[in-house]
């Protein structure tokens, strides 16, 4: 009897695996959480959406392993953010026919940052023009990206055009509501000088008329003396009152900056998702935290 049981178990296992293989879903890979979220909303159960960057790794600087690359290469659709986000795609071979740059249509709205100058072995100095990459912190741009994702899904027949249209309409409504809500909430913050620990809020600032000065601190790290000195200089220069952190730092860090008269706000840049909340929810939460700090 036990033998028979085992055989049955093996048979069931094989059957189950075979079934799973047979019904393998199309796979869509996204290079950041917002694109993953848009794709999931637009595809429903029609495809698996994968965001391959592990938690704790900045998706901007992720370097995929060979296994990750072959998983991505075999995807049916690869959603890129463009605007210089995730430069690893320049150093990895990807099937061009599967790639979609979701900001191709909105390049005229990119924010150009100052040039970075450097030199090579003996090639002399040259400079790169930098682009602000976190486009999805402007819900209007996010809508354009979601639309690009919808077009890509429909073009590749990953879901029925009807379904995608309906889902896009719902997503657009949600993003427009987020935009309106954010505009209302941040209206009172417009004339307050804000400092960010990292330059990632350019599109947010432009959309809602925020005045933002950026530091170059590690996400969630406790600032060192030099960092604090730079902070003090900006406070003096701009009269800043609010400090935006990318991630929750130590209590000591909050105390240090609080002692300088700054109100601390954590506003995740959402390249990664926030546990327990969707992109829209996390965005709304962060906005209300910022609005709260601004109105104190």
């Amino acid at each position: 009897m036990p033998v028979l049981k085992h055989l049955l178990a093996v048979w069931l296992f094989l059957f189950a695996t075979a079934g799973a293989t047979a019904q393998e879903q199309p796979r869509v890979v996204a290079v950041n959480h917002p694109l993953q979220y848009f794709a999931e909303r637009l595809l429903g159960d029609d495809a698996d959406v994968v965001f391959p960057v592990p938690a704790g790794v900045d998706p901007s600087f992720w370097r995929p392993a060979i296994a990750d690359i072959s998983m991505i290469q075999s995807a049916d659709l690869i959603l890129l953010n463009g605007a210089g986000f995730a430069t690893w795609v320049d150093r990895v071979s990807l099937p061009r026919s599967k790639l979609v740059n979701t900001t191709a249509a909105i390049e005229d709205q990119f924010i150009v940052t100052e040039s970075i100058t450097h030199s090579h072995g003996d090639g002399g100095e040259h400079s790169h023009e930098g682009l602000a990459s976190y486009t999805w912190l402007d819900p209007a741009l996010a809508i354009a990206q979601a639309e690009a994702v919808a077009v890509a899904i429909t073009a590749r027949d990953l879901a029925s055009a009807e379904d995608v249209d309906a889902r896009l309409a719902a997503l657009r409504r949600d993003l427009e509501a987020l935009d309106a809500e954010t505009a209302g909430a941040l209206a009172g913050v417009a004339n307050i000088a804000i400092i960010t620990t990292h330059p990632r809020y350019e599109y947010l600032a432009r959309r809602y008329g925020l005045s933002v000065t950026a530091l170059e601190w590690e996400a969630g790290a406790t600032p060192d003396e030099a960092g604090l000195a730079a902070l003090r200089a900006i406070i003096e220069d701009k009269g800043a009152q609010v400090l935006i952190w990318e991630a929750q730092p130590s209590a000591a860090a909050f105390d240090m900056t609080g002692a300088l008269g700054l109100r601390n706000v954590v506003f995740p840049p959402l390249a990664h998702g926030v546990d327990g909340s969707s992109y829209i929810e996390a965005f709304a939460d962060a906005v209300s935290a910022l609005a709260g700090a601004g109105s104190e």
Binding site: Q73, T87, G121
Partner: protein
């Protein structure tokens, strides 16, 4: 039987003469057959490659150069086209464009920078190792692996070129990460890299401060496959993140673009877009270009046939003379045979047995030769085409 016995004994005793006669006769038989086999195989291979490549986009100029460089990775260097053209075709939604950047070579084999779509399009599969994954990876054709004796884990260094006259561009060392299964096509003789890697070789993309210097080579801490290369760059785990590209990718060059239209209608629309003589780019159907080439080859072939015929006649005359002279030399034997009571026609029997034996041997050799040629025709033609390229 007796006539054959004597004929064979005679031929064996005069083995050198028999060998020469047999070989000459075998050659006369074999040459036209082998030419025919090789030519028709070439035609098939050429036409098949042409037919398998629906459209080609490139700079306006020689259509043959464009076709040869894109289909056979020849040494022709058509003016490059900008990637903007590739994007334009993507944007049209009418076709899949596959760029081919074939300006560089390594150890006599062309480096072809392309996208992964090319491997799907040509149905190329990796027989050992993996496909292209990371900037700098190289996947080599079966014949490259064979001739260079290299495989997964070895490296290749691009040959230094002054093509673009860029200062400070060092050859690139590339790890071989995969070997392709043989296809008897020019793909067997190519080294495939991501087109981004080709741009790194060209100096459009680069990393920082990582050139292997002559001193390191001398000290044995770096190995070089090409002795002429004393300095080259290498993409490593430590420096890969520093690799970047300058300018807009739209301006980056590619030698040619294979264009795979979605359907006949898309093909017609696309062709229409490039009809304008003012357009710096041209869109051509390589099958037509190849057919023109094949027609030309066959015109040459008919000339060759005439030459072969003349040579064959001359050689047959020479063989006839040789045989006639040897019969004269054997007059004494014939006289003896008559005196000994040889049957009527014995002489004729003896001589024809000899001739038949010779010709049968020649025919057998020619048949074996023809069988060998036809068996290897595909790979030889592949090699010949690569050679001509």
């Amino acid at each position: 039987m007796n006539a054959l016995y004597l004929a064979f004994a005679y031929l064996r005793y005069h083995w050198a003469r028999s060998l020469v006669l047999t070989l000459v006769a075998a050659l006369i038989l074999l040459v036209p057959i082998a030419t025919q086999i090789l030519l028709s195989t070439s035609e098939r291979a050429l036409v098949a490659r042409g037919d398998a490549t629906p459209l080609l986009l490139g700079s306006r100029g020689s259509q043959l150069d464009l076709t040869m460089s894109a289909l056979y990775f020849s040494d022709e260097r058509p003016e490059p086209v900008a990637m903007r053209e590739v994007e334009a075709i993507w944007d049209s939604g009418l076709a899949v464009p596959i760029p081919l950047h074939s300006a560089f070579s390594t150890a006599g084999h062309r480096i072809v920078g392309t996208t992964l779509d090319y491997f799907d399009f040509r149905d190329l599969t990796v027989s050992d190792g993996r496909g292209l994954s990371i900037l700098g990876d190289a996947v080599i054709g079966a014949e490259v692996a064979q001739t260079l004796g290299k495989g997964v884990g070895d490296t290749l260094v691009s040959s230094p070129e002054n093509l673009f006259d860029l200062d400070g561009v060092y050859p690139l060392e590339m790890p071989i990460v995969g070997v392709l299964a043989p296809t008897n096509s020019p793909d067997d003789g190519a080294v495939f890299v991501d087109i981004k890697t080709a741009w790194v070789i060209q100096g459009i993309g680069h990393g920082h401060e990582d050139v292997v210097t002559a001193a390191e080579v001398a000290a044995g801490s770096a190995s070089v496959s090409n002795a002429a290369v004393v300095q080259y760059q290498r993409i490593t785990d430590d420096n890969i993140d520093s690799f970047h590209f300058h300018g807009s990718q739209d301006d980056f060059p590619t030698t040619a673009v294979v264009v795979v239209p979605n359907d006949a209608r898309a093909s017609t629309i696309l062709k229409g877009r490039y009809l304008d003589g003012e357009n710096p780019s041209q869109l051509i159907a390589p099958a037509g270009v190849i057919q023109g080439l094949v027609d030309r080859i066959f015109r040459i072939k008919s000339l060759l046939d005439v030459v072969t015929t003349i040579i064959a006649v001359a050689a047959l005359a020479a063989i006839g003379l040789a045989v006639f002279l040897s019969y004269r030399l054997r007059a004494r034997e014939i006289a003896t045979a008559v005196k000994l009571g040889a049957r009527r026609g014995m002489v004729l029997r003896l001589l024809s047995a000899e001739t038949i034996t010779l010709l049968s041997l020649s025919a057998a050799i020619a048949a074996i030769g023809a069988a060998i040629v036809s068996q290897n025709a595909e790979s030889w033609v592949g090699w010949l085409l690569a050679l001509g390229a």
